[in-house]
């Protein structure tokens, strides 16, 4: 099938999904132990979207993420240690401890970046795409922007404004809607006038495709098609990936709104289990076990290192910095 990931690519995506899952588990423990600050938004169950949608991107492609971005960060090639060190507030973190888990950026890998203003990443990616379009035209490049955003974010006014402008200007941007059924605690049926958000693509005159967000190969194929289209200069697309958050909204969620039946049904469709199953025909169980063990060990090593790293010290900004207000 067109745009199918190779077996090696599938193994690499599986490794990344396992790393993200283990990262979320470790962060859950670290949060309970008081080693992190503020709420942590885990993406357990949604890894196939973040990893599958970013697997075909290059470092020169620019990605915007959300408050629930750990899979996006790993998918875009950010190292485990800078991510974890940032979440632990260390000077060795991706942003030297200034950003925290919701706002991580890594310019060298084209992650710019997490965004905890719901919907904020959508116009951000659209703005990236204008510059990339101008630069592509100037130097023959084929860079694209991508925005991963939630079903809650899809209800914002800036989502509408951005999609209209992106389609109007044929911008090289791919909108990947990570539909996990809820915006915070509110089910999508209380937030959206339509259950399938992909129908909105028509309203902007751009292609739209809805996929099983727990099937990483399906996510990869649909997004790769959209990325190719953007690289060819043919404009934006919308991919809606239906998935489910298997844990609370954040570490401060007290629950009570997700049904046990739903949770059980989606756990059956855990994207990591599905990915392993689909690789079983071509890869031995021993090799898959090794991938699993390596991914977890890499996370554990990064956690250990980050815990030993120093905390940052505050430095005043220089008169040349934008934050300077004038000498007192």
């Amino acid at each position: 099938m067109r745009n199918s990931p190779t077996i090696d690519e599938q193994i690499e995506m599986l490794r990344r999904m396992i790393a993200v899952r283990h990262l979320e588990e470790r962060l859950g423990e670290l949060h309970k132990a008081g080693k992190t600050r503020g709420p942590i938004h885990r993406c357990d169950g949604q890894e196939a979207v973040g990893i599958g949608a970013t697997a075909m991107l290059d470092a020169a492609d620019l990605l915007t993420s959300t408050h629930r971005g750990h899979a996006h960060y790993v998918g875009k090639g950010v190292g485990l240690h800078p991510i974890i060190a940032e979440i632990l507030g260390r000077s060795t973190g991706a942003c030297a401890g200034r950003a925290g888990h919701m706002l991580i950026a890594d310019a060298a890998n084209g992650l710019l970046g997490g965004n905890a203003i719901v919907g904020g990443g959508i116009p951000a990616a659209t703005g990236f795409a204008v510059s990339l379009q101008m630069r592509n035209r100037a130097d023959g490049g084929a860079r694209v922007a991508m925005c991963l955003f939630g079903d809650g974010a899809a209800q914002t006014g800036i989502c509408h404004e951005s999609m209209n402008i992106a389609a109007l200007w044929k911008l090289p941007v791919v909108f990947v809607l990570e539909h996990n059924q809820y915006g915070l605690t509110a089910h999508h049926s209380t937030q959206s006038s339509v259950p399938d958000l992909v129908v909105r693509a028509d309203g902007y005159g751009m292609p739209g495709e809805s996929v099983d967000g727990n099937d990483i190969t399906a996510v990869y194929r649909a997004v790769a098609t959209a990325v190719d289209r953007a690289r060819r200069g043919e404009g934006p697309s919308l991919v809606e990936a239906k998935t489910y958050r298997m844990v609370g909204f954040s570490t401060s969620d007290v629950g009570g709104y997700q049904s046990a039946d739903d949770l059980a049904a989606w756990r059956e469709r855990d994207p990591i289990v599905l990915a392993r199953r689909s690789l079983a025909a071509s890869v031995s169980p021993a090799q898959l076990d090794a991938v699993d063990a390596e991914a977890r060990a890499a996370v554990d090593a990064a956690v250990e290192q980050a815990l030993a790293d120093p905390l940052p010290g505050f430095v005043d900004h220089a008169p040349s910095a934008p934050y300077y207000a004038g000498a007192v």
Binding site: L62, C95, R98, I117, A124, T126, H317
Partner: protein
């Protein structure tokens, strides 16, 4: 030197910077084909083409957010927001996006964009098209805010703003577009963060920006007839603020009047007043006087609007109180 209107000076700055740097581009509502509702961008579409001079949908929130990230990704956008009254739509992109990234991303990105807008009353444009929201934007760390009063500064500051690697909010005034003054020839740049003494004096310092500089100069004329020598400081930059020039002036005059066309309560004048208390308290012979717009929506009818806006007579009265 050439006599130029404020709007022409702005256009000259845009044209020169676009000629100098192919990464500079303009976008905003009605700016391309029509040339902007105040005609600042007239003829630029013909010269630079539709990729670099773009008409946009009416989508201020998104346009502002796009300026932030387009700037991060290697071009230098100049966004026109038609009225400063629409800045509340831009404010998330300014306050939660533009202002944070250079710091929280530990210097990984810069955002060389300029947001041009125009505000101010006196044109009978009503409560949604007459405000001065200087304090709203000057409050935000990470933004630079400039507000030229003259054509010369309009040109020099806009060129400097476009070359700045950080976000600059460029506040124009609708009643200044047709005012004319001498603009230096050539590559005229005005450093952001430096005030200008618009008129020298020794009895009282009047500290103002944008159109209030013009009103303060008129007030200084009135005061001169009464034997009061007023020094008028044109701030030019609201953030960063040139505290040195303010302090030096008050050290000479020992009296201060702060003027801003925004609302009084929590307005920009409050920051000026507090700055003077912090930096020049020992120099003062009298309390700081503050002149600002009344704390109500700006009304439409001429006598009502005149009653709420600051003007030369109100500034002169404040100066008389200060030196009394």
């Amino acid at each position: 030197m050439a006599m130029m209107r404020y709007a022409e000076a702005l256009r000259a700055a845009l044209r020169e910077e676009m000629q100098r740097d192919s990464n500079v581009w303009l976008f905003g509502e009605d700016i391309a084909v029509y040339g902007g509702v105040f005609k600042v961008t007239k003829d630029l579409l013909a010269e630079f083409g539709p990729e670099r001079v773009r008409d946009t949908p009416i989508s201020e929130q998104t346009l502002t957010a796009m300026a932030v990230t387009a700037a991060m990704a290697g071009t230098r956008p100049v966004l026109e927001i038609m009225y400063a009254d629409f800045l509340p739509l831009s404010i998330d992109a300014l306050m939660n996006q533009a202002s944070i990234y250079n710091y929280i991303w530990n210097g990984q990105v810069t955002m060389p964009f300029v947001l041009r807008t125009q505000g101010g009353g006196g044109a009978g444009a009503g409560a949604q098209h007459s405000k001065s929201l200087d304090a709203l934007v000057a409050h935000i760390p990470g933004l630079k805010v400039v507000a030229p009063a003259t054509a010369a500064d309009a040109k020099g500051l806009l060129k400097a703003a476009i070359r700045d690697d950080h976000p600059v909010i460029f506040l124009e005034h609708k009643l200044l577009y047709n005012s004319r003054d001498e603009v230096p020839d050539g590559d005229h740049l005005v450093e952001i963060g430096k005030a200008r003494i618009a008129r020298e004096g020794h009895g009282v310092s009047i500290i103002a920006s944008s159109r209030m500089v013009i009103e303060s100069l008129k007030a200084a004329e009135l005061l001169a007839d009464e034997g009061i020598s007023a020094e008028v400081i044109d701030l030019r930059s609201l953030r960063p603020l040139d505290r040195d020039t303010i302090r030096a002036s008050i050290a000479k005059t020992h009296h201060a009047v702060v003027v801003n066309e925004g609302w009084r309560f929590c307005g920009y004048g409050a920051e000026l007043s507090a700055t003077i208390m912090e930096t020049a308290f020992d120099e003062l012979d009298a309390p700081v006087e503050r002149v600002a717009t009344h704390d109500i929506p700006i009304p439409y009818s001429e006598p009502l609007e005149n009653a709420v806006l600051p003007d030369a007579a109100k500034i002169a009265a404040a100066a008389r109180r200060a030196v009394a």
